[in-house]
């Protein structure tokens, strides 16, 4: 109980801090819309390539951009933790009886929440541009769940890294190193049918690809057993990352 209520109060604190940065809020809304418009225009013709397997690129892109935004947004969650360390906020929290796990859980929850809001905006804009959620409400919820799980996993990983390295530059460098390759080693912007064989092979082990395929299959209303498998794998991945972050946090506290 204490864990849940502590997580809630700390989550509210993070949410409030975000809401008080209007420019940040504006950018995190406009940026994904921009991706949909930009990629939608830039790659509009790829659907005409034989074997692409989708009629409209916006239709194909909408779930993919939802996942990409989740990835990009959550990857830097650890920066907030470092800011709390620098300003003495974390120390102050640690001198209270607060559940230690809640300090990590609140950050993961905050990222997951933010990511779902962004996914909702992306899907809405894509639908205005002609995309259709053939999977219905269940499909849309699948996109949200895939985005939330991937966001949670990367937020946890980012915090684990931040607590181990304690340097902003390192967090930025490592996450940049991870984010783009995992994006391109997935079917986020390119149909799986058109990928070279080795990328197809690698993408099977890429959590970003699990999220993309689950989101896209859900959005299109395709086979639910594969969606369930991808979501299951993502959930396991998120749990492993959360365990890593918790471990990193106790190591950080012991090293003080």
């Amino acid at each position: 109980m204490d864990f849940l209520s502590d997580t809630w109060h700390l989550f509210v604190r993070l949410l409030r801090a975000t809401a008080r940065m209007p420019v940040f809020v504006l950018i995190s809304i406009v940026q994904p819309i921009l991706w949909v418009l930009l990629f939608g225009q830039l790659f509009a013709k790829v659907t005409t390539i034989q074997g692409f397997g989708a009629s409209s690129y916006v239709q194909f892109l909408a779930p993919g951009i939802s996942i990409m935004t989740a990835l990009f947004g959550a990857a830097y969650s650890g920066m907030g933790m470092l800011a709390d360390i620098d300003r003495g906020v974390l120390d102050r929290l640690l001198t209270t009886p607060v559940s230690r796990g809640a300090l990590i859980a609140a950050r993961i929850l905050h990222s997951a929440f933010q990511v779902v809001i962004q996914a909702a905006i992306i899907l809405a804009v894509a639908c205005l541009l002609g995309a259709r959620p053939h999977g219905g409400l269940a499909g849309i919820l699948t996109v949200f769940l895939a985005a939330a799980l991937l966001g949670a996993a990367f937020a946890a990983f980012s915090n684990a890294l931040a607590l181990a390295a304690r340097k902003q530059e390192l967090v930025i460098a490592v996450m940049n190193f991870i984010v783009l390759p995992t994006t391109f080693l997935s079917s986020m912007i390119m149909s799986r049918n058109l990928m070279p064989g080795w990328i197809q092979g690698v993408s099977r082990f890429n959590p970003v690809n699990w999220a993309v395929t689950a989101a896209r299959d859900g959005f299109e209303g395709r086979s639910s057993s594969e969606v369930a498998l991808s979501l299951g794998l993502l959930a396991v991945f998120a749990l492993i990352c959360a365990a890593l972050a918790t471990r990193s946090f106790s190591r950080y506290r012991r090293a003080m």
């Binding site: 502590d6 008080r20 003495g88 906020v89 120390d91 001198t95 009886p97 003080m256």
Partner: protein
């Protein structure tokens, strides 16, 4: 039983730096006790251990009757901690900072609301209560910091360098607050590198140098050991350490 009992506390950091080389002292309930010394003497390390943020390499410490290593949760419930580096969330308002702090001490909502209002009034932060703390002056931030440390009516309050970086006017306000808290019977452990601050506020002082306590007693006792008239804590410090006091210059 003392409010704080410290026995041969040692701390060696990972890099091999010996921050504490055997510190012992005891603080009685209701007492204002000052750890006085220059930066790097080991004051903050001592406070970090007593507030459960850091584990000692050796030695024992009990706060409010509980062992800081074996019973950290019991200790945390009974202490307030005001660190040197603040800890105010600058994006949140004063009221929000206090409320979060109260939630984390699991105060019931109704009691928390009135306690928050009471502390805002007491620390003259009512007018600024609903402004983000980033708009506060240094003195206001420090007052909020102290108020946050008091939200759950702790038995022992730790004040690490409470007036460092404050202008003389804010320092005077903070001294008044400390005296008021002392009059209420709260046990206070404060660290300072200002000789005058320790002299003015503390009933007993321990002079810390190089990770050890080199002299301890009431300000009067400490001065009495030095022959001559108009003895100041500077003279006490010089005799105890063999070098003149340099304060923040280090």
């Amino acid at each position: 039983m003392g409010a704080i009992e410290v026995e041969d506390l040692r701390k060696t950091y990972a890099g091999g730096v010996e921050a504490l080389r055997g510190v012992s002292f005891a603080v009685r309930p209701g007492e204002v006790f000052a750890l006085l010394g220059p930066n790097g003497a080991g004051k903050s390390t001592t406070v970090r251990i007593l507030t459960t943020l850091s584990a000692p390499t050796a030695g024992q410490a009990r706060v409010a009757g509980f062992d800081v290593v074996r019973q950290p949760r019991e200790v945390r419930r009974r202490i307030g901690s005001v660190a040197q580096s603040s800890g105010v969330d600058l994006t949140a308002t004063g009221r929000e900072n206090l409320t979060l702090q109260g939630h984390l001490f699991r105060l019931p909502p109704a009691g928390l609301r009135s306690r928050t209002a009471e502390l805002l009034r007491l620390f003259q932060l009512e007018a600024a209560a609903d402004r983000p703390a980033m708009t506060y002056s240094g003195g206001m931030k420090r007052r909020l910091d102290v108020a946050m440390g008091l939200i759950h009516r702790p038995e022992v309050l730790f004040l690490d360098e409470p007036t460092t970086g404050l202008d003389p006017e804010s320092r005077a306000v903070m001294w008044k607050e400390v005296r008021r808290l002392a009059a209420e019977g709260l046990t206070l452990l404060l660290t300072t590198h200002y000789l005058e601050e320790a002299d003015q506020l503390a009933q007993r002082i321990a002079i810390v140098d190089g990770g050890r306590i080199v002299a301890a007693g009431t300000p009067a006792e400490l001065k009495r050991e030095i022959p001559g008239e108009a003895v100041t804590l500077d003279d006490v410090y010089l005799k105890a350490t063999g070098h003149p006091y340099r304060g923040e210059g280090g």
